[in-house]
């Protein structure tokens, strides 16, 4: 076979192609891979409204890019200078966008700009009083203010705003950080014997971009932060901490898995070449998967890369199955390939078809993962088929006693004399699964997978305590290109939110219309205020004995443009098109607020991500179902109707029972379990096919199954010991499933014996 001319030519052609792939891949890696860890990138492209999706994504990105640091020191000047230095260093290095430079002057400027338009501005309380004809309250309040030692009213204000409606309007404006006040142009507070100044800015890039994370952390580490205390609140620190933990963990688990695999292969074959060639096949697969995804996609999500690379790991099975033929007495490279070619061909084909279906789903993450794994798997397979017979110099091996024991152990259950034990084993599995079914739970809540750094969480709590900052994690996205209409929709929502505020469901809300009401509302307010003046001023004059000749403001109305509010960080970019509820206690009640208001959509990013995971889980299960179907059709074509199904059953049983066995361990069923099942089925089918290709219990084949199962357990099963919940669930699923698949695989062989 290897002497055939076409095979030699194909091997050379493959070498040329791989050199190209490696050349291109290396060049791209040196230039910097376009990696991304932003979960929004995984959003399905089948959303009905791309504009809405784009707007929401934009705003979520903006919220995610917030950068807040409190700089504290007992000496005010030290704290201030440190805050200035830190902010300027980060800005100079392009890590932060430019920010409003002087909060004190901006706040005063804003009040000065607003004041002439006061006849159109009313606080929520005063507006409600006037709408409910409770002018008396406002008149009493105005008189009371004149004799009130704590009143804001002075001689100037008395003539311009005798009912203190404007100052009341300002006081009722939402304040996201109520404990801070402008001081020396910065937001400041004094607490815990320290002066604290706040740096509040936007990151210049996505905090989920691995490249930006690295750049940022490089700059951050070089800044001398002594002697001040820093408290941090930004997604970039959380993302970086998570990435750092994941890298440490993966390097520990990965190194351990790799070491065990290397030791196992060397121990079994007592030679280095099988290990070297296996690594070559895997590396070829990884590089080709990467290159294909680089050619197909603009950016590559790290999750997709991880998922795809993991699946390429299935290819290690082909290599090991090939080399295990060395335990056959009549072994030559050509013979080895001939012995396994059918098994690994059908194994590859079933996996290939399954993942090809995955690529059809409109989920970018699955498409990328599928592209990487399909390309990688095919490459590894071709490397085995085209190169191994030429590079393999391994002589025949005598099986060690331990291999013979392993073979006996694997076949023990399937010996004809052990029918009762098989029944007992099956009953035990069914009973355990039934027990698991009682605890079976589906849970895609994103918070379950979040493992935030406790240290950063503590800093966040401290910042919230110092500043009074409340959580703003949800928002209403408002699709309206007309500014007046946009403001009116915000007011409409605000009117509904007032009730929720009264009931304690939210603390407050933030929107552009709270600062600059719509012209329509300002006209209404003006009428209400004019009526109040007509009724109230004579009464005040009578009680106080003062003669009040009031001065009115401008006749026109305040707009976002003439107010200068758009220059504030609160309403930059996409934020003006949203309304932010503050401290939402019950998100479910919020969804009803937008009902019936055209163009208003409630967005809860955390809930959306949970929904996204749920949808991905459904797709993964659909993919699994398609994989099962295509695999079955292929097995039927190869082995016939009856034996096709019995070849399918070992992997299918392992795949179906694993979630219930996991439930016994209190592990809920979620996306990461579902995606592990896809991998599990692909591996399990391979084992069954390898068995089905044999006519009797064959040592090389059984050794191959043992070996591939153990390497899979070392690669994926060890992930069960990860501290990251998603990775742990993935690892546990594979660990249980692979063990079951291995135990059940000889079932297929038994049926082959019955095959006509």
């Amino acid at each position: 076979m290897i002497a055939s001319r076409w095979h030699v030519q194909a091997a050379w052609l493959w070498l040329a192609l791989m050199l190209l792939v490696w050349g291109y891949g290396t060049w791209r890696m040196v230039s910097g891979l376009p990696l991304d860890s932003d979960l929004l990138y995984l959003l399905p492209s089948e959303e009905q409204d791309p504009q809405l999706q784009k707007g929401r994504a934009l705003l979520i990105n903006e919220l995610g890019s917030r950068f807040t640091v409190m700089v504290g020191h007992p000496e005010e000047e030290q704290a201030l200078q440190a805050a200035k230095k830190l902010q300027s260093r980060l800005q100079e290095n392009g890590m932060l966008k430019p920010t409003a430079d002087n909060w004190s002057s901006k706040a005063i400027e804003l009040a000065k700009t607003f004041f002439p338009y006061r006849q159109g501005l009313l606080g929520e309380q005063e507006r409600q009083m006037l709408l409910q004809h409770q002018e008396n309250k406002l008149i009493q309040r105005a008189v009371g203010q004149l004799y009130n030692p704590s009143a804001i009213l002075d001689s100037q204000l008395l003539l311009k705003d005798p009912f203190t409606l404007f100052s009341s309007f300002l006081l009722q404006l939402p304040n996201p950080a109520p404990k801070l006040m402008p001081r020396n142009g910065w937001l400041h507070t004094y607490a815990e014997q320290k002066h604290w100044f706040m740096i509040n800015a936007q990151l210049s890039d996505s905090p989920f971009s691995i490249q930006f994370q690295n750049q940022f952390m490089q700059v951050w580490e070089t800044i001398n932060k002594e002697p001040v205390t820093l408290l941090r609140l930004s997604a970039i620190f959380y993302a970086q901490a998570a990435a750092s933990r994941a890298m440490n963990e993966s390097s520990t688990i990965g190194t351990l898995g790799l070491l065990l695999t290397i030791l196992l292969i060397i121990f079994i074959f007592r030679a280095v070449r099988p290990l070297g060639l296996t690594i070559l096949a895997i590396l070829n697969g990884l590089m080709c998967g990467l290159v294909v995804s680089l050619l197909l996609f603009e950016r590559i999500h790290t999750a997709a890369l991880l998922f795809g690379s993991t699946l390429i790991g299935v290819a290690v099975d082909y290599c090991l199955i090939y080399f295990c033929q060395a335990f056959s007495p009549q072994s030559s490279p050509a013979w080895r390939l001939k012995s396994v070619i059918h098994g690994i061909f059908y194994g590859m084909l079933t996996t290939f078809m399954g993942y090809f279906c995955l690529a059809m789903a409109p989920f970018p993450g699955l498409q990328q993962g599928a592209a990487i794994s399909v390309a990688g798997l095919l490459t590894s397979w071709l490397t085995v088929v085209l190169w191994f017979p030429h590079l393999d110099t391994l002589s025949c091996r005598t099986p060690s006693p331990i291999l013979l024991h392993m073979q006996a152990l694997l076949m023990w259950l399937w010996q004809p004399a052990h029918a009762r034990q098989r029944t007992l084993f099956a009953c035990t599995l069914v009973l355990l699964s039934l027990g698991g079914a009682l605890h079976f739970e589906i849970n895609d809540n994103i918070r379950r997978y979040q493992q935030l750094s406790p240290h950063l969480q503590e800093e966040q709590k401290q910042i919230q305590k110092l500043t009074g900052m409340a959580d703003i994690n949800q928002f209403f996205w408002l699709q309206n290109n007309d500014q007046e209409q946009l403001l009116r929709v915000q007011e409409q929502l605000g009117d509904r939110l007032q009730e929720l505020r009264t009931r304690g469901i939210i603390q407050d809300w933030l929107s552009l219309a709270r600062f600059t009401p719509s012209t329509h509302r300002q006209q209404e307010n003006k009428q209400l205020i004019t009526a109040l003046y007509g009724t109230g001023l004579p009464i005040i004059e009578e009680i106080t004995g003062l003669s009040l000749s009031t001065q009115s403001g401008r006749e026109d109305f305040l707009t976002p443009e003439n107010s200068g509010i758009l220059a504030w960080p609160l309403f930059t970019d996409a934020k003006k098109q949203a309304l932010f509820p503050i401290s939402v206690q019950d998100s479910t009640q919020m969804t009803q607020v937008a009902e019936g208001i055209t163009g208003a959509h409630y967005v809860d990013p955390a809930a959306d991500l949970s929904t996204l995971l749920e949808r991905y889980r459904y797709r993964a299960l659909l993919l699994l179902a398609l994989s099962v179907l295509f695999t079955y059709l292929l097995l039927v074509w190869r082995y016939g109707w009856k034996n096709g199904i019995t070849t399918l059953l070992p992997a299918l049983c392992a795949t179906l029972l694993t979630p219930f066995l996991l439930a016994l361990l209190q592990v809920p069923f979620g996306f990461f379990t579902a995606i592990a099942l896809v991998l599990l089925f692909a591996i399990g089918v391979d084992y069954a096919i390898f068995c089905a290709e044999e006519s009797s219990p064959d040592l090389p084949m059984l050794t191959g199954i043992w070996l591939t199962a153990l390497t899979s357990l070392f690669s994926f099963g060890l992930l069960a010991f990860s501290q990251t919940p998603a990775v742990r669930e993935f690892g546990l699923t594979v660990m249980i499933g692979i063990s079951l698949s291995m135990l059940l695989a000889p079932w297929a062989m038994r049926n082959k014996n019955n095959h006509a």
Binding site: S104, G144, P149, S150, N175, P182
Partner: protein, 200 residues
Amino acid sequence: MMRLCFLILLTFNLIFPDCSLAAPMIKEGESLRCRFTMNRHLQGFNKPLHSEGSLLLIPGKGLLWKTEQPFSSIVAISSSGINHYANNDKILSIASQQIPFLHTLRQLFEQALTGNEEGLSQFFHIHQENQRIELRKRPDIGISWPLQKIIVQREGQNWVESVEIVKENGDRDIIHFLEQRLTQNAPTAEEIALLAGADP
């Protein structure tokens, strides 16, 4: 707003005769009751606004400023904010969250209560001459503050006779304190409710 802050400050002066630097004289469980007259001189108006009433100060709880003449109303100031009552109705309610400055000043006064001189001197230059204490706003405090100065006139060792608050625009409040007495009588339920910001 500034008046409010200085009112609190000066009320403390009623019982801290050596400005803020002495240990508190109100013992635990005691409260201060007195009567007051206030003349508010507003620039551009010929006659001052005159009012009379009583006040109650409970350390740690807050201050009730009860105006009786010419218009009956009560201002309750506590850590939760300011509530203004008139005609058996709450006519104004401002939570302390809405007034960050109040929060800062409260921290300042807490420091003053513990004898921390730095607390007041961060905001004022303090000048004492016999029975007269003048607190003049520091120009470098980094806060926009329409107040110019506060003049406290003491009576004997333990009590404040009057307080004059002068604003930058020339408005002045002159408050005289009369019939001052420390009492161990617990405040009434109504007074406690008002300080808690309860609706009448």
